[in-house]
Subunit: 424 residues, 2 copies
Amino acid sequence: MTTIDATHDPTLESWVASANAADTDFPLQNLPFGRFRRADDSDWCIGVAVGDQVLDLRQAGLVDGADMNRLMRLAAEPRKALRHAISEGLREGSAMRSRFEPALVAQSEVEMGVPCDVRDYTDFYVGIHHATAVGKLFRPDNPLLPNYKHVPIGYHGRASTINASGHDFRRPAGQLMPPGATQPELKACERLDYELELGIFIGRPNPQGVPIPMEQAEEHVFGIALFNDWSARDIQSWEYQPLGPFLSKNFASTVSPWIVTTEALAPFRRAFERPAGDPQPLPYLDSEANRAQGAIDIGLEAWLQTPAMRAAGHAGDCIARSNYAQVAYWTMAQLVAHHTVNGCSLGAGDLLGSGTLSGPGPGQCGSLLEATQGGKQALTLSNGEQRTFLQDGDAIILKGYCSRDGLRRIGFGECRATVLPYSS
Amino acid sequence: MTTIDATHDPTLESWVASANAADTDFPLQNLPFGRFRRADDSDWCIGVAVGDQVLDLRQAGLVDGADMNRLMRLAAEPRKALRHAISEGLREGSAMRSRFEPALVAQSEVEMGVPCDVRDYTDFYVGIHHATAVGKLFRPDNPLLPNYKHVPIGYHGRASTINASGHDFRRPAGQLMPPGATQPELKACERLDYELELGIFIGRPNPQGVPIPMEQAEEHVFGIALFNDWSARDIQSWEYQPLGPFLSKNFASTVSPWIVTTEALAPFRRAFERPAGDPQPLPYLDSEANRAQGAIDIGLEAWLQTPAMRAAGHAGDCIARSNYAQVAYWTMAQLVAHHTVNGCSLGAGDLLGSGTLSGPGPGQCGSLLEATQGGKQALTLSNGEQRTFLQDGDAIILKGYCSRDGLRRIGFGECRATVLPYSS
């Protein structure tokens, strides 16, 4: 695991004034990576967020070219050296200021893309409260399947429809079997939902046939972004037997633009403990370091903004709050070790969705399926509107942040998209 | 659908003598596309198989560059023009011979790769006899789930571990719950299986949000190859609930090197009919052209060569014979229309596995799971050896061909790989 070093010093200030604001997601201690382009330029560039600015890494002389996946493949030492070079160059009083300053562009002036070229995308199911709540809708007496506490359950998703934050998408149509019907029909989805997830980006690849052991697993993780795994529940319930979700998920997913690196997250690691009485993980999913600090304390929020709220200038209601460390039954290292134990190869830029990160209580449900108990109990919003599932024009905004006394707050930016009406 | 034209004329002969042999897979009427490299050259080139030779398309002046996916994106007219130019140049008496001849290289002297860059891979489940036989192992009285005859069932697979024919792979390990055990364990797979499939390659892409209707679906298919979806049955049975197969499939898949184009397959189209009494497909999965000629008559074989057979110079036993047209419940056009009905985007080079194409009778089972009734009844091979599942050193060789009286036989080459021992 990465260690806490000088780049985390909370007293560090930047000559980029906006990075010193108490409420910025992107202080000097964060330095997340993303891909941006200027309005008049169709090529993606590699950037690092600092306050309300983006540092163009090529223009600053810190990288050659604009291949984010190549940057993500870097080994631990050159990665760390790059972080230090960026951190030092942006510090108040740095001699590099004259070189870096012309490489800054305002975030408001650029378009952000999917942060890297995602080749393979896997979605896991590590949120045990989500798995339990969803299982309860189908099997009230036996919500968790027998494999859940032994196997980090996951399945492959569609890489081609992973969108950048801000890219809106049309409500999908699909084949449905409405309750009580005897014939399926093709209809626009009526139970459109979101899922509050984190997206874990792979850095260093492994060759096919060579598993990654727990002890090395975190070296293969580049960092984490916010991830919304939009879900069409009515399509899902009719199609998913026996091979799992397919068209109910692959119409669109949304990822936030900034990958917060494992280096930036180092001060927010926590012990990872299983509840008393739960089975211990098999040795290939266990390590001392994982028990000591496998969890990461990331606060998560999902916001819903309806068209009426937007018209009224209202930013939306926070409909779910949760915390990664508190609700994930499996750590990043366990996902990487499990995914490769059979020899499966992971590539730089591959994305591992965490699965929905719901907490156990009310107000902690990371999907409407859970919050409304399968659509039975509508949510009442602050302006009196009600929702079971998403309506056209609704936007979901995910947010995330790490905070701890004595440290600068590390934010994830936002992951936002709006549901456009179905169009045949 | 593509039509029968001069390139299919069975009387056409080539100045490449081996293409005129009665038993070649690659007569002048076939012209499948693949990627090859010469032993002393690390760059992949685009080639077309003709007899025992490969025509280097760039060297022959027929394409610029070596980007197969770009070639696959071609619209119907330029694709057809390319086929005609290759066909005419290779014909006996062609004036192009002096230009093409230096662009020939013997197949025995080149390495064949995965035929294109596969970004997203989906595996379907169109073999109704396979779905029934596998379902029967779990639910004897109700083998087919209620959605099967309405929904072309599919799920996303792993693109990173799709291997070229001839690329051997190690037996995977995985988490298993042996029958009767109370604790899972990590072990080398003991129920390693193959699956006899076809791989359908997408040519023209569709943008996200824009479904491909049935009438246009076949224009988006470039062609077909053989595909082996290796499966670890013991890993599968423990992991697959509730989100489908994952590590039981993604350790390796094998694809044959030559994509037989839909143009070459045109003379082997057949009417596509559902058994009497079965539900008709929903309108978005139905078209007149699909009913008239949605099926393709492709004979399929799976061969098993054990190490003892190899030592004795024995090519192996044919353990399964089947026919795509006779066993597929859904056509290529239906897979494309279904996959995109929700707005999912398909890209050039994307791969759709058909699912296991078993016939209903003995000797027609495209997996050992079916042939041995879940491992209960061993197969006895021609040399007296027995198999329930695959042993180390076993090779599986898939073959395919189209034949019809009065036409040249169109072959698919072979899809081969050998199981290497597990190594921790």
